[in-house]
């Protein structure tokens, strides 16, 4: 009985509501359409609207091929959209912005540079002051457990360490907004869990705005303030679920929390995966 009540309550907040037009957010996406032209033209995204407030951690879940990566690339200014509006810090997105850092699924380390040089590369390409970058990277190396590997090359590292270094490269940019496209998708489950905990710790320290694309429901619930669920192609946001779990979140006090399980069950049901 209590269980059913819980679900009903959850449902009440899961109905997708279009973002109010005036609500200020770090990321505002309004009625975005993305069409892939050609002989068999398809709409990858249709009427996608979402708002991510400053310092909010939002995950986007959806079946594969639903256009969630495309959505991230549109927000990152890497891919143009066909209709609608995309605002980052109230400015329309016209291309890659220095306010945004993007972490991709692949580690993107350059094999000919050491871990340390790789981690500094992003800041160098963005022409950030060298001294500050060196100090920041030194700090990040410690924080990400890469001490002793600074002078190694990426191929000498495990996949998990490479991805940590990739995240470090982006964090060294100190971006206000972090976009992550399945950053742990290529890693094994154990490494993934560990990196999730680390990611949360970093986020709780720095409080950046995060938009995370993932296909792991557990990951989304564990990390996020809100989880947005997308439909199959053409992608469209069908649910907006507020994750009301206490912070700071640690696996030992979240994974045993009954609400954590209920969120997972509810989202699994929405996505038809159980």
């Amino acid at each position: 009985m209590g269980q059913t009540m819980m679900f009903r309550n959850l449902k009440a907040v899961t109905e997708a509501t279009p973002a109010p037009v005036n609500e200020a957010g770090a990321i505002c996406v309004r009625n975005v359409l993305k069409r892939y032209p050609g002989k068999h033209a398809v709409n990858a995204l249709e009427d996608v609207s979402l708002t991510i407030r400053e310092r909010e951690f939002v995950s986007i879940l959806g079946p594969s091929g639903c256009g969630k990566s495309t959505l991230l690339r549109i927000v990152a200014g890497l891919v143009p959209h066909n209709d609608g509006e995309v605002l980052v810090n109230n400015k329309p997105v016209k291309g890659p912005s220095p306010e945004i850092g993007v972490v991709f699924q692949t580690s993107n380390m350059l094999p000919w540079l050491t871990v340390e040089k790789n981690m500094m590369l992003g800041a160098q390409l963005r022409k950030l002051p060298a001294e500050q970058t060196a100090a920041k990277v030194g700090e990040l190396i410690k924080m990400l457990g890469l001490s002793g590997f600074e002078q190694n090359h990426p191929h000498q590292l495990s996949g998990g360490m490479r991805q940590r270094a990739s995240i470090g490269q982006i964090l060294a940019l100190d971006p206000g907004i972090l976009l992550m496209d399945e950053p742990f998708g290529a890693l094994d489950a154990l490494t993934r869990d560990l990196l999730n905990v680390e990611l949360l710790r970093i986020w709780q320290e720095r409080m950046q705005t995060v938009m995370l694309i993932t296909h792991s429901i557990q990951e989304a619930v564990f990390l996020s303030d809100r989880v947005l669920v997308m439909s199959a192609r053409p992608g469209h946001i069908i649910h907006d679920i507020k994750i009301d779990l206490p912070r700071p979140r640690l696996p030992e006090n979240i994974k045993g929390n009954p609400r954590y399980g209920q969120y997972i069950a509810e989202i699994s049901k929405i996505m038809g995966v159980y």
């Binding site: 990152a76 890497l78 912005s97 991709f104 094999p111 940019l173």
Partner: protein, 247 residues
């Protein structure tokens, strides 16, 4: 240490087989002289051999370096400009299919019997592999790295020097490895067709005078020269250690 012994034993056996094999099999000296006769003939003509080797070496180096520079420039142009890709690339592909050796006489007609025609022939032989390898290296760059650089707001200059160049280097070096021996062939072919000096000229001269031993001496020197040049390229290619280390 053991490898050295292996090499010495192998080459020693080869030299001995040559030296005594020809006599044992009764091969006539004008067909295949024993190794000692070859070395002796080379030594007797040492002044000519040294000056001819120098001439050929210079031809090879100048032609080869010109081919590498030209090949890289053209490869980069074709890769980054749609216009050259549409126009020059098919043209280059057609030229590449042409037997270069058939063009060597033309080089003599155009550039005369001197240095220039040998450089032209060397260039012709060595040029195409560099273009193809440069293009292959540039187009083989992982799309995710290009996107990553774009997301980081990298300038075109930075993207070229910090991503495209190092990423294309392994393939480029492979092209150089093919190109280096071809440059030697180009110089020799140029000298065969018309010249007054160089190791190719020495071979034709020895042939005309029925001095098979001197001809073999010239061939040996060319082989050593080409092997040495290839070895230098091989050493250089080891600097590009990240070949196949994509992560």
């Amino acid at each position: 240490m053991k490898r050295w012994i292996e090499a010495i034993v192998f080459w020693g056996a080869f030299a001995l087989l040559w030296e005594y094999g020809v006599a044992a099999l009764g091969v006539r000296r004008y067909l295949l002289p024993p190794l000692s006769a070859v070395v002796l003939a080379g030594w007797d003509a040492r002044e000519m051999v040294v000056s001819d080797t120098w001439v050929t070496l210079v031809e090879v180096m100048v032609g080869f370096i010109a081919a590498v520079c030209g090949g890289v420039v053209l490869g980069v142009l074709i890769h980054f400009s749609d216009f050259t890709r549409r126009t020059l690339y098919p043209f280059i592909t057609a030229l590449q299919s042409m037997p270069k050796i058939a063009l060597a006489p033309l080089m003599i007609v155009w550039f005369g019997y001197g240095f220039a025609s040998k450089i032209a022939a060397t260039f012709l032989f060595a040029f195409f592999p560099v273009v193809i390898a440069t293009l292959g290296g540039l187009s083989g760059i992982a799309a995710n790295l290009d996107e990553h650089f774009r997301a980081l707001g990298a300038s075109r200059w930075d993207t070229f020097w910090r991503l495209h160049v190092p990423a294309a280097l392994p393939s480029f070096i492979d092209g150089i490895k093919i190109s280096m021996p071809l440059a030697v062939i180009g110089a020799i072919v140029g000298e065969f067709i018309g010249s007054e000096e160089g190791l190719g000229h020495l071979i034709t001269l020895a042939t005309a005078n029925a001095k098979t031993d001197l001809m073999f001496a010239a061939i040996l020197v060319i082989t050593v020269l080409a092997t040495f040049l290839y070895w230098i390229v091989e050493m250089m290619s080891r600097l590009v250690w990240w070949r196949g280390k994509a992560v």
